[in-house]
């Protein structure tokens, strides 16, 4: 198993404002792991995900792994935001992959046929190595 040096976590949440979604990101070599927790829904949740992805792309971070282990709820707007993120990264010749889906999120991606669109992993090391 490859050893991955983890950079300190950096938060992209606005301080002092409680948001439905919390996002931090850390570097694992050329891959950026985005740890999300909470809900990706219409409004702040979708907006924070969009802002996070845009920020990473602006920093030329185009190999992105979204860790959804602590995302317990996604609505149709959140699904759309995931697709938007996927397409945005792809348009920059990058890759966006998913890690640790909860059962509810996995079921949602399956019934919307998006499970086959995204690369989905259950192990972080394997997911990070898949970008090589």
């Amino acid at each position: 198993m490859a050893t991955v040096e983890k950079a300190p976590r950096r938060t992209t949440e606005h301080k002092g404002i409680k948001m439905a979604l919390h996002a931090t990101h850390r570097d694992a070599g050329t891959v950026t792991v985005v740890d999300l927790s909470g809900r990706i829904t219409l409004g702040d949740g979708s907006a924070l995900l969009r802002k996070t992805i845009r920020g990473l792309l602006d920093d030329q971070r185009t190999q992105i792994l979204l860790n959804l282990a602590d995302v317990d709820y996604i609505d149709s707007s959140g699904i759309g935001e995931l697709v938007s993120a996927f397409m945005g990264v792809k348009n920059r010749n990058g890759n966006l992959k998913l890690l640790h889906l909860t059962k509810k999120v996995r079921d949602l991606l399956q019934i919307t046929k998006l499970f086959t669109v995204f690369d989905v992993y259950t192990d972080e090391g394997t997911a990070i190595r898949s970008f090589d």
């Binding site: 829904t41 219409l42 609505d75 149709s76 707007s77 699904i79 759309g80 935001e81 697709v83 938007s84 996927f86 397409m87 059962k103 509810k104 079921d107 949602l108 399956q110 019934i111 919307t112 046929k113 998006l114 669109v117």
Partner: protein, 133 residues
């Protein structure tokens, strides 16, 4: 409300998601996000099912004209999955002309048989929702 009616955790999630999607649909597509327009939400609890009505004050729409989000050309669309999720999560789903001229979403879920669905369990069903028509 769904929990009080006897639905298990997974069905409560499905019903809650459907109500949320219905209201968002009414606000965004029906009322065009105009704050002076109302959304009417009615929940009927009958002997055998929970029926939810979501009525907007827009111009209405035909269910047959809603694009299929599973179609190849729509698979990577960033919107248009709300109706699909409601149809998938509920037992019955329809859109009828509303009394105010807008669209009225009518969707229902059968009540679990007594003793068949633990309050916080999965009710003996897979969490993967079935597909509606």
């Amino acid at each position: 409300m769904a929990e009080a009616a006897g639905f298990g955790e997974d069905d409560c999630y499905r019903i809650g998601m459907s109500v949320r999607e219905g209201v968002i649909n009414a606000f965004h597509y029906g009322n065009q996000e105009r704050p002076e327009k109302k959304i009417h939400l009615v929940v009927d609890l009958t002997a055998d099912k929970m029926i939810i009505h979501v009525l907007d004050e827009g111009t209405g729409f035909k269910l047959s004209e809603v694009p299929d989000p599973l179609a190849e050309e729509n698979l990577l669309s960033t919107s248009g999955r709300g109706i699909f999720l409601m149809r998938a999560f509920m037992d019955e789903f329809d859109v009828v002309p509303g009394k105010t001229g807008g669209a009225e979403i009518v969707m229902s879920k059968k009540l679990p048989a007594p003793g068949s669905s633990p309050p916080n369990g999965d009710g003996g069903k897979s969490a993967a929702p079935h597909h509606g028509a």
